[in-house]
Symmetry: C2
Amino acid sequence: MLVLGHMNPDTDSIVAAIALADLFSKRGIEAKPVAQGKVTPESAFVLEKFGLTAPEVVTSVAGQKIALVDTTELAQLPGDIAQAEVLAVADHHKLGDLSTPNPLEMWVWPVGCTCTVLKSMYDFYGVEVSKGIAGAMLCAILSDTVMFKSVTCTEADKKAVEALAKISGVSDVMGLGMEMFKVKSAVEGAPMRDLVFRDYKDFDMAGHGVGIGQLEVVDLDILKPYVDGLYEEITKLKGEKGHHTIMLMLTDIMKEGTEMLFVTDDKAVFKKAFGVDAGERSFWLQGCMSRKKQVVPDFQAKAFA
Amino acid sequence: MLVLGHMNPDTDSIVAAIALADLFSKRGIEAKPVAQGKVTPESAFVLEKFGLTAPEVVTSVAGQKIALVDTTELAQLPGDIAQAEVLAVADHHKLGDLSTPNPLEMWVWPVGCTCTVLKSMYDFYGVEVSKGIAGAMLCAILSDTVMFKSVTCTEADKKAVEALAKISGVSDVMGLGMEMFKVKSAVEGAPMRDLVFRDYKDFDMAGHGVGIGQLEVVDLDILKPYVDGLYEEITKLKGEKGHHTIMLMLTDIMKEGTEMLFVTDDKAVFKKAFGVDAGERSFWLQGCMSRKKQVVPDFQAKAFA
């Protein structure tokens, strides 16, 4: 069985794939973590820190047995996913448009991170988390919950971090988090396309193609010199994909808000979805840090209504 | 929150709704079990046996908060489910075409019965199952697994029955099962439409409407006098629904096989799906007792390929 997360894998997608493959293996079911792309600098930092290897890159899964982590959206899965057999899902997102011909195992909870769900799965099956995987899971939770600041963060996420810190021997959890987010904030020298795709997802919303990317930094000033280039890049990307709208969330994790850079066929969608008058190419959303909870639901429900 | 199962509710759908509403209530989340139709004679027997009340019938859910049990198929849900907010799912079927705008809680396992999943949810949340609900859950598992004979039955189902028997004080589990299946086998005096709908589900398969019903009896001879009437009824139903195919599984739980009564636009679908040459209006499938595992997957994957 291959354990696989979404396209443009973030740290949760990478670490959850490693952890779920580990859990399956320890339950006697052969499983291997894979990924739909190279790891980000943040993930590379986490994997190195805890002595783990980046999953092999796989983009075609026809004929394979699959466990999915961190998504059930067809747009974020390999194009031939319908020719694979999806046997398990661990996720913390909205339910997407995946459907299966056979019964399967699904653990989906409204918590901040797939790795929080996985910690409970380990506990449920009475399997121990190894030290290295525990450290990486802890980092994935800090990353997804923006060090507990995101509205997606729940008590379950905090409890999981507490337990994983003990197992992994991490004593300064927040210090490790800041170290990780500084790595994540580094943009110097990266091609624009890489920055847009660092954490990017496509959605089908009422028949309209919508792309939403996110860059999280410890200070928005870091991104100032890159905004023109990023705008050019999402404009190009919109043309290639034939999308209705592409948004790129430039999120300041200390100011706790997002400068939303966009290209769209119709600016009215932002008024409808977020109640804001969009500027020429961006607008500020104070308090908005979560694509999953603060952007996707409003946009899906209201933008095309 | 309303807790709701599929159309034409079977015992699992009814009891799982009662149990999940109970579990939510005991976790401090107000919840009420409802159903999309009247209970079957089998369910009425189970509810009365354990002092439970049949859920109120609800066919419209717009604006409501919803927890689903036993299905994620839109065709088996109220037509206005998209105007409701689905917050939780407990199920043991294939993943259907439901999708949600928001993150949710899902417990879906490849076991024989939703109530088996619910027993683990009670355990996970450290909530006790009350005596009456435990007895009804036990019956739901016996019903869905045809007293452990169905291919859908797993070790988890047997373990759940063992634990629920202790809680409910049921000493003769198989005796209770036979008593229940005798009630289920009773067809005398029932209108044909009621018999077809006793356990009936609609599916959308590659754009084709497909209806599959099932009657389980302890001896197929019980149904002999009714076959003509049932055939007439599914022919009428096919016209009303505009379906491609309707199948009615006449399952003999002692002989462990199914006489498949059908009407279809194209008999070739049965050759493609099950490798059988269908008779004029029926064919026998030895060993076939499960719609979910032995009919739906093959039909969905092969009938229209």
